[in-house]
Amino acid sequence: MTHAEAVELLGAYALDAVETDERDAVERHLQDCPRCRAEVADHQTVASFLGSAGGPAPEGLWDRIAGALEEPAPELRLAPVVPLRERRSVSLRLGAVAAAVAAGVIAVLGVQVVHLNHQVDRMAEPQRPQADLVAAATDALTDPQARRVSLRAPDGRASAEAVLLPDGSGFLVAGQLPALGSDRTYQLWALAGGQKISAGVLGARPQIVAFRYAAPELSGFAVTAERSGGVVATTNSPVVVGTLS
């Protein structure tokens, strides 16, 4: 399928209104064509406004979904500590205890293998942020001690979230930040005492970036777009900005 042929089908494709063979051909084209991918995403956004109807989902549906999720890994059960004076009976029970522990370990390993498969599946995606960075950012986002700032563009079309832990380590999670050209970069600024203090250069397509900001004073964060390498002080208007609530 040529680009021109694919383009003609993009509207119908985004509404699931193409035949199976056409869908497969369009999807092969989309793999190599960022412009068509962007157009499909836009069509789907338009469609989502048409489809955003309805009240709450039926009662009990969430319970069924939650019930179908993978079981979390159970706590690893250790063999009970046996006081010395009961040693004599230990040999009698040893077989049973060993069997119980082995069964527990096998169960735990089984669950972990399922989870590892899940992780490997996701890590195969090239753009996915490093797993430990994701883990650290999630922990920070869910840490009750953390200060969180939602950054927004004035027109609502770009967003990010910053989280700062009491020890000064922070993470910026890009919500919607349009990709910049390779000669430009986003830069994070801490807002303190009417000043913008650079908290780090984020790159042209940030997803999750770790940063440090340990000064006690902080009123918010801003992100600007700068030339590649970043700047010491910015005169640009923020792409997104947010203040501490």
Binding site: A14, L15, A17, F49, G54, L61, P72, T142
Partner: protein, 195 residues
């Protein structure tokens, strides 16, 4: 593990937490979008039980493959609704659903005032969407409605409207592009491509 402040978390942060197996984050995504996901599937399938199945599939897929959602490509709602629509259309096109579709059409014809506008008004932006729809040339609007809410392929739409397939194909695309431009002008919609 209790998670504070999930209700204020962005969709991207929610999906990040879902990728780390935080069930509460999935519950919050469901609270925000479950109703719309279900309503769209039911609109297409005209059957609550099947729409529940689709909704369950959509959220289990978000749980097992959270990386399929790319926040740069659109909102979480747009992603989940696209999933719901695709799955519902698959079911609708399956041989076994033919009869169901006929029954549904009979019912819709019987209902006076069948109207797409009523379906979108629960949103804060509903009024804008209504205006944007009203501005569409009627032939574009008709093609989009039949494809999106009827679950018809553009070829089926062409047959129903007695129009050339190529015409219907381009009406769907030009209608969607026109609506996008109007939505952008009205300042609606989070993520649009820069083109």
């Amino acid at each position: 593990m209790a998670i504070d402040g999930l209700q204020e978390a962005s969709d991207a942060a929610l999906v990040l937490a879902i990728a780390r197996y935080h069930e509460e984050a999935l519950a919050e995504a469901y609270r925000r979008h479950g109703g719309a996901v279900f309503a769209l599937a039911r609109r297409l399938l005209a059957e609550g039980a099947l729409a529940e199945e689709v909704t369950q599939e959509v959220f289990l897929r978000l749980w097992s493959k959270p990386d399929r959602f790319d926040p740069e490509r659109g909102s979480l709602r747009s992603y989940l609704l696209a999933q719901s629509h695709g799955r519902a259309v698959d079911l609708l096109r399956a041989e076994t659903s033919r009869r169901r579709r006929e029954e549904r059409e009979a019912r819709q014809t019987a209902e006076a005032g069948y109207d797409i506008e009523r379906e979108v008004l629960d949103l804060a932006v509903g009024e804008h969407i209504k205006e944007v729809l009203d501005k569409l040339p009627s032939e574009e609007r008709e093609a989009i409605e039949l494809a999106y809410f009827g679950g018809f392929s553009y070829r089926q739409v062409a047959a129903r409207l007695d129009q050339p397939e190529g015409t219907v194909k381009s009406r769907i695309r030009s209608g969607l592009r026109r609506m996008r431009a109007d939505l952008v002008d009205a300042g609606i919609g989070g993520v649009w491509s820069e083109s």
